[in-house]
Amino acid sequence: MAKAAVKKAAPAASPSVERRPALAGRNVSATGVKVEELPPAERMSLRAPEPSVAALSKALGLTLPKKPKTSVSKAGRTALWLGPDEWLVIDEAGNDPLADCAKVAALHSAVCISHRNIAISVMGPAAEAAINSGCPQDLSLDAFPVGAASRTILGKAEIVLLRTAADAFRVECWRSFSDYVFTFLSEGARDAAG
């Protein structure tokens, strides 16, 4: 069913034009926390009913998480549970998850959103405090352990938050919100450092 997806998502063999990510190269360091833009990645919004999950997991090479606020990572590919039938799949190893899903006959929707999102890394002992400057969720390790993932709010923007280590988070947001989110996190970092 996902023929169209394959075609449009296949990485361009030879783009003759330059890719210019938003925020390219931006970073801010404060005592105890560093905020920086992460390199582009392959991203897919995956939607599927329960009976399709096993087949899709197999195709993707990782077990799609079924528990709320969790994620599963394997070989540079991470699947974040965003909703009961929704996953954000991020591949940082350069492999296209859409191509993998295209082979699956089971009911699903796979849409390429590689360029829709921008990822920002917030890292350091004060990372949690920096994000809590605008995110109302409890980000303690008990409530939001390593691997926890959730769509939520940062100030007035929607983000997807993934905890990659005790003191490291990946913040994903839509491209046009990235300046706002980056600036907010920078202010949060400055305050968390103080």
Binding site: P15, V17, S109, I113, R116, E187, G188, A193
Partner: protein, 997 residues
């Protein structure tokens, strides 16, 4: 050291670290750790302000946040002038500059004090009585004058240069108040390993341990114990200790707002430090340890500078090392003022006399005072204070009347007892209960998971307080899942006890008197005012409060509420609990707008969304307009061009050669699944099942009531995949609307929605040369009219990157919309631009886009429609599938009013004078000579100068518009009536031939 009232042997401040400051231009020296109040008192300055209404001279009443009198303006620089700062809270820093408020020309000689002489005119409720007539005078005279006189201090007139931050925090146990109770509770909770936050409004923890010289815990002085305990707590990973932090609001589900004053006490705050930090804390359990506030005695002239709360005088002595006078009198109705007298006497200050309303009290403090040789008068009242700018005497009389005796004093310490601080408990929606025996309101019924401990719970005595608080802290931690504590409860070795007291007016200020015995200092409310309010018919305490303004000032009646209530109850002849307490509301103390706004200012006020192509437009000198949160290129002026000239040029260029337009902000939704077409059938008026993959259709979305909600071109990429576009502003709500129906009304459909607005940058290439510009860059797509006719879509590559190439037009010209992954947007735009330069293409902005579409009569939802327009009204009936059994809005469309004759319909308007451009929003009438108010039959929705048509064009909603073709109508404007002709909506290329031109 010129501070005459500093006692080097007393207090805890290091005498070495001095700080210079000024008050009303006069220089003084204080000590680091002082508050502005303690530093002024150390210099013998008691007169610090003028009261709000009567401009009476006022001094420092308290040593804390409850202060009603000592409000000053702190001036850091031109932009930092903070009014209404409580001198008892403001910490001293070297170079601090403060000014008194509400006085002119000077604090000691204030012209406004004439109000005091004229006070009979300003009795309770005078606003409501005085300014009633003549009616016309309200707007011209009374209101401006009242506004001029209102308020204390001067608000800053420059943007706030400081920054403020905020933090969400979660904990198991939140302890509010850092006195003995709060610290004990925090220790008990912290030892179990749960997450604890402990906050106190003071710079140093300890609460009343700051002045209670008799307190001994774990073998040390109370204050020393508190500091050791705080050091221990601060070192624990699971504890956050916040000083200078006020819990100002207690909201639902244990959500508490706190403001931390981060840098107001610093001489030169670092650039990275916020001025204040807002903490929004969610706690599993809240321990309220907010203590108690001492009440003053209500007697004549009890507001003279030098008259203060006994506990405050003790704090100034025992913490700051400041004697509040050399010859002090004491007026009390409980034991606690004795301790103040004893401490002062021991520090070498003469205590002229203690006047105690009680008849024959006994107890250790009374014995000790007597042993120190202090004169004690039982059963007597202070009936008046002498002096004006500073108290000079107290006149004493037996409380049941008799001979008067005047005793010279330079300060009076007073205590009517202590009021438990139930503010936060009350804000949590807990119900207070009146304890008849101790005459105080204490927490009664709880509404949230919180517990009150210590003085705010009506618990008397340090030992009982620590026991209660420690147990409560341990229980709160246990309930939150803490492990069994191995800690030990602090042991109280020495304690003071100061319960009881009196409420209401003291003898000498009773109902038969007219003296100025103040209940509420800040709002100048006297005992007489309260009685008068009752006499004038106020029965509810809420009415008495509003009529007299008792408790309505910035201190929110912290010292006055209980006295006011008691006087009202007495006058009403009712017991206090029957009269009831006014509701405590947030904030506990004033909160700055800065803290509330926190990060949300400047670039973080709201997200500013920019497209991938934005940098190019910016470099070209485009002028941008705001469309929702987006910045969109409005027009691209060349040197010397105004907006008009630029838009004319852009419009002509598109129809002559070609134009490039950044359409990236259009909402885009990918609808995927085997039931995608079924879903589209339900959400849009149009039929979709038969739309071939590779083809597009203009879709209309309705609300259930039949009115147009959104529109856009939809491409079918595959049988199970649609690429839907929405209006720029409508994108989020259309997505929400579609998700709503999918999840809740049509959950049986196998289809999913994904927002792809930001995945794709969209470059519209429009105009006769558009294909010539695009074709050389495209791979894998046959660009011929046969292979790619108008309203079709193909996937392929452009400049080597994937594209969804739409052949569509919002200009009426041959046109394309090139979708490319957003990060490639600018580079592909530049490549197209370079090709375009060979063909005379221009970049055009949203204004030209609007003009071009209006020339073709294409509507813009939200401009030509307003939520009351049906497809038929807009002339779009053709887009409604007549054979469909269901779609959202199908039933709304047949409502009687929606099919009635005479509905407003969208038509074109041409002004009789082609040079005249109508104003959008202008009203339309049939007969301009009719009497006002005229009958308006419609309004202009879109209006432009069209260079391509060589005249103005307009769209309008007009009642029965399509039956009026050729009619003349009128648009009355301030400068005259404009004649217009009703026309069709298409002004340019009526046959549509240019779509393939």
């Amino acid at each position: 050291m010129s501070s005459a009232f500093r006692i080097p042997s007393a207090g805890r401040l290091s005498q070495v670290r001095t700080a210079r400051f000024s008050f009303d231009g006069q220089s003084y020296t204080g000590i680091e750790g002082d508050t502005l109040a303690s530093a002024l008192l150390a210099n013998g300055v008691h007169l610090v302000g003028r009261s709000f209404k009567y401009h009476r001279p006022r001094g420092v009443l308290s040593a804390g946040a409850e202060e009603p009198n000592a409000l000053v303006q702190i001036v850091r620089d031109d932009a930092r002038k903070t009014p209404n700062v409580r001198a008892t809270v403001q910490e001293l820093y070297d170079g601090l500059a403060a000014n008194s408020q509400n006085r002119w020309p000077s604090l000691s000689f204030d012209v406004g004090a004439v109000n005091d002489l004229a006070s009979p005119l300003f009795s309770a409720g005078f606003y409501y009585k005085t300014f009633m007539w003549p009616k016309a005078a309200w707007k011209s005279l009374y209101e401006p004058k009242i506004r001029e006189a209102a308020g204390l201090g001067v608000s800053p007139d420059k943007p706030d240069p400081d920054h403020y931050s905020s933090r969400y925090a979660h904990c198991d146990v939140l302890v509010l108040g850092g006195g003995a109770a709060g610290i004990a509770a925090a220790l008990a909770a912290a030892e179990t390993g749960v997450r604890v936050i402990l906050a106190d409004e003071q710079a140093e923890f300890g609460g009343s341990l700051r002045f209670e010289s008799g307190a001994k815990i774990d073998g040390q002085g109370g204050f020393a114990w508190a500091q050791a305990a705080i050091a221990k707590l601060s070192a624990m990973d699971n504890v956050r200790v916040l000083s200078r932090t006020t819990a100002f609001g207690y909201y639902a589900q244990n959500f508490v707002g706190l403001v931390e004053r981060v840098s107001d006490h610093l001489k030169a705050p670092g650039h990275d430090l916020p001025r204040e930090r807002l903490w929004q804390v969610r706690a599993k359990c809240v321990v309220l340890a907010s203590g108690a506030i001492e009440r003053h005695m209500v007697f004549a002239n009890n507001d003279r500078p030098g008259i203060m709360l006994a506990g405050a005088a003790r704090t100034f002595l025992n913490h700051y090392g400041v004697a509040v006078g050399r010859n002090v009198g004491v007026y009390t109705a409980n034991d606690s003022a004795y301790a103040a007298a004893i401490d002062l006497k021991k520090a070498g200050v003469n205590v002229a006399a203690i006047v105690d309303l009680r008849d024959n009290p006994t107890g250790p403090v009374i014995d000790e005072a007597r042993a120190l040789g202090i004169e004690i008068n039982f059963g007597r009242a202070v009936i008046r204070a002498g002096g004006k700018l500073r108290v000079s005497s107290m006149t004493v009389q037996p409380k049941n009347g008799g001979g008067e005796r005047t005793i010279p004093v330079d300060a009076i310490l007073m205590s009517a007892g202590w009021t438990p601080s139930v503010h936060l408990f009350s804000q949590s929606r807990g119900k207070v209960a009146f304890n008849d025996e101790t005459k105080r309101f204490v927490p009664g019924t709880y509404a949230q998971d919180c517990v009150s401990v210590g003085a705010c719970n009506g618990t008397d005595g340090l030992s009982a307080t620590v026991d209660e608080a420690y147990a409560a802290g341990a229980k709160a931690a246990r309930d939150a899942g803490g492990k069994t504590a191995k800690g030990t409860k602090p042991k109280v070795d020495g304690s003071e006890n100061w319960s009881r007291g009196m409420l209401g007016a003291a003898p000498g200020a009773g109902p038969d008197t007219t003296v100025k015995a103040f209940v509420d200092f800040q709002n100048d409310v006297t005992a007489k005012d309260i009685r008068q309010a009752v006499h004038e018919g106020m029965r509810s305490i809420e009415h008495v409060k509003r009529f007299t303004t008792n408790g309505m000032a910035t201190d929110q009646g912290k010292t006055s509420n209980m006295h006011g209530l008691a006087i009202a109850a007495e006058t009403l002849g009712k017991p206090i609990p029957e009269v009831g307490l006014t509701t405590f509301r947030a904030p506990y103390t004033p909160v700055t707008f800065g803290a509330i706004v926190s990060h949300a200012r400047g670039p973080l006020f709201d997200p500013t969304r920019k497209t991938a192509i934005h940098p190019w437009a910016e470099a070209q000198g485009a002028v941008f307009e705001d469309v929702g949160q987006w910045k969109r290129a409005w027009y691209f002026p060349k040197a010397g061009e105004d907006m008009h000239a630029a838009v004319d040029r852009e419009c002509v260029a598109v129809r002559t050669n070609a134009g490039l337009f950044d359409a990236s902000t259009l909402g885009k939704i990918e609808v995927v699944g085997p039931d995608a077409a079924k879903f589209m059938e339900l959400l849009y008026t149009n039929p979709w099942e038969k739309l071939e993959p590779g083809r597009c259709r203009y879709g209309i979305m309705l609300r259930e009531d039949g009115f147009i909600y959104d529109d856009g071109v939809v491409g079918r990429l595959a049988p199970d995949r649609f690429h839907v576009t929405t209006t720029t502003g409508g994108a989020p709500r259309v997505m929400n609307h579609m998700e709503d129906y999918l999840q809740t009304e049509f959950p049986h459909l196998n289809v999913w929605l994904t927002s792809i607005t930001e995945q794709w940058a969209v470059i519209a290439v429009q105009g006769p040369k558009s294909r010539d510009i695009i074709a050389p860059l495209v791979e894998g797509i046959d660009m011929s009219d046969e292979a790619l006719p108008h309203m079709s879509v193909r996937e392929g590559k452009i400049c080597g990157v994937p594209t969804r190439l739409f052949r569509m037009s919002f200009t009426g010209e041959r046109g394309f919309e090139v979708n490319v992954p957003a990060d490639y947007g600018q580079a592909v735009w530049e490549a197209l631009w370079a090709e375009g330069q060979k063909h005379g293409a221009t970049a055009y902005g949203t204004e030209a886009m609007h003009v071009l579409r209006a020339e073709k009569g294409y509507i813009i939802v939200g401009q030509d429609t307003d939520g009351t327009v049906t497809p038929n009204d807009a002339g779009l009936d053709w887009a409604v599938g007549k054979k469909k059994a269901d779609f959202v809005g199908i039933r709304g469309l047949t409502r009687p009013d929606l099919v009635a004759k005479g509905r407003k319909q969208l038509v074109g308007l041409k002004t009789k004078d082609p040079k005249v451009v109508l104003e959008e929003g202008a009203q339309i009438v049939e007969d301009p000579k009719q009497a006002i108010p005229m009958k308006m039959i419609g309004h202009v929705t879109s209006s432009y100068w069209s260079q391509n048509c060589g005249r103005s064009i307009a769209l309008a909603l007009v009642a029965g518009g399509r039956d009026r073709m050729g009619d003349t109508l009128y648009v009355p404007m301030p400068n005259g009536v404009i004649e217009v002709e009703v026309t069709g909506m298409v002004f340019f290329d009526e046959t549509g031939g240019r779509l393939n031109g």
